[in-house]
Symmetry: C2
Subunit: 593 residues, 2 copies
């Protein structure tokens, strides 16, 4: 039984208190674990340095901001988060969402607005953690997440083409970007294109072929993978040298990163962006949702590989704290990185200490290494982003979803297209709403059946499927689902149909065993049904109603309008109403109501 | 049984064809019906003339536009609609939504944009009718509709205060309007305030007291009501005379309607607004939904009073055609008016002919009566709108909903506040999404139970509620609801919990009698469960699965991964799996999978 995560354990953990659960790994920390962690941290840092520059540029921010959000937020996550393997920091999708959110604001306030956005995102996530809002994960279906990520990756690839071609192009949707690119394609910078195209080919080949080749040369698969993952930093080193010695910027007009200020980020609340916080609230909510869903999926995946478990409410707190700290250190929203977390796991990282080590190494980078990055061509960074996004494209699962279920496929494709054509912030919202709508659509016609008594018992069964005793005067309709706004009208129709077919009926019993809830709209429908039955001289009764539902009905004015009674059980209802053979009692009964 | 609407009739009607059903009333048209219709039409027109000016101004358009949309759209609705009593034309809520939609566009293109908006709204509604999208009514809960209308009425009242005070105030939300009003309250025009305040008091008194007084003077209730409804036109006449003789505009600065061009609207596609159609798509969709829900509710209410029935898909066609015609006659979006339709019904209108008559009389007004309207003070029109909106405020039902159900109450209050603080277009959307989310929230934990064999039968019952035969090796979990993305994780947890408590279990059967659907997310969860059970050396089986669900599972790659089997019935599953007493067969079985 061991491999299964044990939910009963969760409570014990909770009782043993925050500190023990959170920092249990500290008391068991050993030299071997330290070695594992530091090896993983070095490899993650090598991956993170170029990514941090690239994603900051993708967000429309200066490159050093990417380094800034790779320091303090990692420390905050190590303190508050629940995953041992998650590497938080700048990521492609959240960077693109940041770009879209701050694009509407004036250029000079964008830096402060990005920090404000991180503060708000962090605030929403942290509050979500405090009120245990982890259940919102349940609202986001897997096809939507997968389609959303594929759409965002494609949009990011399109957004980076301008750097590969060395032209300018603006916009937050695939359409507007492609329009700009087409218009400016005549101004293509051949040197930039040479840099970008070769970088894509080299990075792509390393990723696809190197690990494969090394394994064929008898290297262990894990080691081969790690070497392949570390290669990009050397490729980038080569392009920096090329750029420096060939004077790519001044002689050929290839755009480069430029001077990156050295030093650690200042810790302060963002100032200029305060006026724009109203505009940033909605984007912050959407970013918080995407960051949470994305990070939690990654963390859960890695935890289950190690037979562990993560707590989604803890994840909210961890991500919230990390984003808040990103905000006060002049950064922008961050989340858990799928690629770097996987590298961390594969490289043998064991505890949150690895995250703290990465933060330390990034701080050293910020202080000492920035002069090296000055000559890096933007086209090389764009190539790095594009190749990273190739891995996120998952058209196969989109297709598999469509084959399995048209409804799920439709939702996924709509989310995918929404990202491309309306912008990255719309994909999740549209997907979530459509998934809810299609589910509700599937419940519009709840199952209901006229039932009769199973001979010799007190059991009532579907009259169409079983041989049961039925009755012309007193009919019983069993309702097999909760009544709520979307299916209430169907009940109205169903009752109307039964009445039309039952000329001798005097009493209709609604048997509510499976009705867990009657909402206000369904109550209106019941009132309407009661009114119509009354004018047809038929009494309406209820039986087998759950006590919670009954109490609520009794509180409303409907209980006074009801022509019949609310019986505790179906048995009692039939005892009272069945007209055998005492006809007088029945007519008495009809007079009473 | 007669009073009940008979759904079986619907099919017969449909078979007898479009023409008969739609125009049946024409073949039976008589002199008496003609008299009824023309009396109702005159009364509706008297009500409509001032309303049409007022609502056009509310929409931010010239007053004659209100008259224009009271002519051709009524003809279109008479041809395509299904209600005998609905009076379409300009209404308060849709006018306010139009104002919000075109406010973002430059002033000089608003006229064309409003017409474009009507075209788009009409297009969406008509297409909705063709694809039989009437079921969307089911997505909108009654508390949301009622809260939305109350919120919109309150917002409209606030938006009209500027005319009562004779100041200027802009904005589409209660907050921004009140901010402007507070800032300009020093510039109040006393003459305008005198006109507006007295008009509100007079119109309000007529509405509340006149009908009551007339009834007490032994007049028939229906006639008293109609007289009270017709009085506003005389009040407005008095204010026109006052304005003319006292020179309210030039001498006191009271704003008046001004010159209203005479003549019929030109029939043409809107030209200038074409560039803005992208901005208008979302507002048009929301207006189409609100117009449809609002009109259909009114039409259904009146139809059921006359023991009739309306077809919501026909309503979509009728409203779509009417809005389309409003668009090509230089108008703006329209819908069914609750107040005028009620007057039409009460006054004895019997057929769509009454609507055609109203259209004819409004055409005469457009040609001959516009000079009369020039001196009408805007404050009087604002008073007319405000008093009309008093009738739409329904705080009582908001309160009653809250008392009955916190979830419904929360939805209603959120919709109400969204209208006031984010603008009228948000109320319905927010309400619809929140209602869906709260419903899904209530289904996150579907009912499931471990079941056992009822002694001596082949029936399986909840092992916690009945004395049944259970088995340590082979356990059966009955799932009582469809599996979909929101509850799939709960199944994962439930299975984990069962495994933790069942050290001897070798086989788990999921009994799927009540599972109508397994969506792609739930399929992922089943794969996950299968994988985890496999590593715990437990086989996963299914029984009693509906053939539709089974076929779909067989199409997916899951059927190859499954460690157990999909049995047709629970009986067959237990026959195969139950380890009594043949232990060898069981171990054979385990080797196979």
């Amino acid at each position: 039984m061991k491999p299964m995560s044990d939910p009963s354990k969760k409570n014990t953990d909770a009782k043993s208190g925050f500190l023990t659960r959170q920092y249990g790994w500290l008391s068991e920390y050993s030299g071997q674990v330290f070695t594992d962690d530091i090896v993983a941290a070095i490899i993650v840092t090598i991956l993170l340095v170029p990514q941090s520059l690239a994603y900051a540029l993708l967000a429309g921010l200066p490159p050093q901001i990417g380094i800034y959000v790779s320091i303090f937020p990692l420390i905050a996550y190590a303190i508050f988060g629940s995953s041992n393997y998650l590497n938080v920091g700048p990521t492609a999708v959240i960077s693109l969402m940041t770009a879209a959110a701050i694009a509407v604001l004036p250029e000079e306030t964008r830096l402060a607005s990005a920090a404000m956005l991180a503060l708000l995102t962090g605030g929403f996530l942290f509050i979500g953690g405090l009120v245990k809002a982890g259940f919102v994960m349940n609202f986001i279906s897997r096809p939507v997440v997968s389609a959303y990520i594929t759409g965002a990756a494609l949009l990011i690839i399109v957004s980076q083409l301008k750097h590969i071609f060395g032209i300018s192009a603006d916009g937050n949707t695939a359409l507007s970007l492609l329009k700009d690119i087409t218009a400016n394609i005549g101004n293509i910078n051949k040197a930039a294109f040479a840099v970008g195209a070769t970088a894509i080919i080299i990075l792509w080949s390393i990723q696809k072929l190197l690990a494969y080749t090394l394994v064929r040369l008898k290297m262990k698969a894990r080691r081969a993978q790690l070497i392949a993952r570390m290669m990009p930093v050397f490729v980038i080193g080569i392009y920096i040298l090329l750029s420096y010695f060939l004077n790519l910027n001044s002689a050929y007009g290839v755009r480069i990163v430029g001077k990156v200020p050295a030093g650690l980020p200042p810790l302060a609340l963002p100032s200029g962006g305060l006026a724009d916080y109203e505009i940033l609230i909605m984007p912050a909510i959407v970013i918080a949702i995407v960051a949470f869903v994305d990070s939690t999926s990654t963390a859960q995946e890695l935890a289950s590989r190690a037979r562990g478990r993560i707590d989604s409410n803890k994840e909210l707190l961890g991500l919230g704290a990390a984003n808040f700290v990103a905000g006060v250190s002049g950064g922008y929203p961050i989340n858990g990185s799928m690629s770097r977390s996987a590298v961390n796991f594969t490289a043998g990282g064991k505890t949150p200490m690895a995250g703290l080590m990465v933060a330390g190494m990034m701080a050293l980078t910020a202080v000492f290494l920035t002069p090296v990055l000055k000559n890096l061509p933007l086209a090389t960074l764009a190539a790095l982003i594009i190749v990273a996004c190739f891995n996120l494209l998952d058209f196969k699962s989109l297709w598999r979803t469509w084959v399995y279920s048209r409804a799920d496929g439709l939702t996924a494709i709509t989310a995918f297209l929404s990202v491309l054509f309306f912008g990255v912030q719309w994909g999740v919202l549209v997907g979530v709403v459509l998934a809810m709508a299609l589910h509700i659509q599937s419940t519009l016609k709840p199952h209901m059946a006229l039932v009769g008594r199973f001979p010799g018992t007190q059991h009532y069964r579907d009259a169409e499927r079983f041989k049961v005793e039925t009755n012309e005067q007193v009919k019983t309709l069993r309702i097999d689902e909760s009544l709520y706004y979307a299916n209430a009208r169907y009940l109205e129709d169903k009752v109307a149909r039964i009445v039309a077919k039952s000329p001798k009926m005097t009493d209709l019993i609604l048997m509510c065993t499976a009705v867990n809830r009657i909402d206000a709209s369904a109550l209106s429908s019941l009132k309407e049904i009661n009114k119509r039955l009354k004018s047809a001289r038929i009494n309406l009764h209820f039986s087998d109603m759950q006590s919670r539902v009954r109490e609520r009905l009794n509180r409303s004015e409907f209980s006074n309008q009801l022509t019949g009674q609310i019986f505790l059980s179906q048995f009692e209802a039939m005892e009272m109403l069945e007209p055998e053979p005492d006809w007088e009692r029945l007519s008495d009964h009809m007079d009473i109501h």
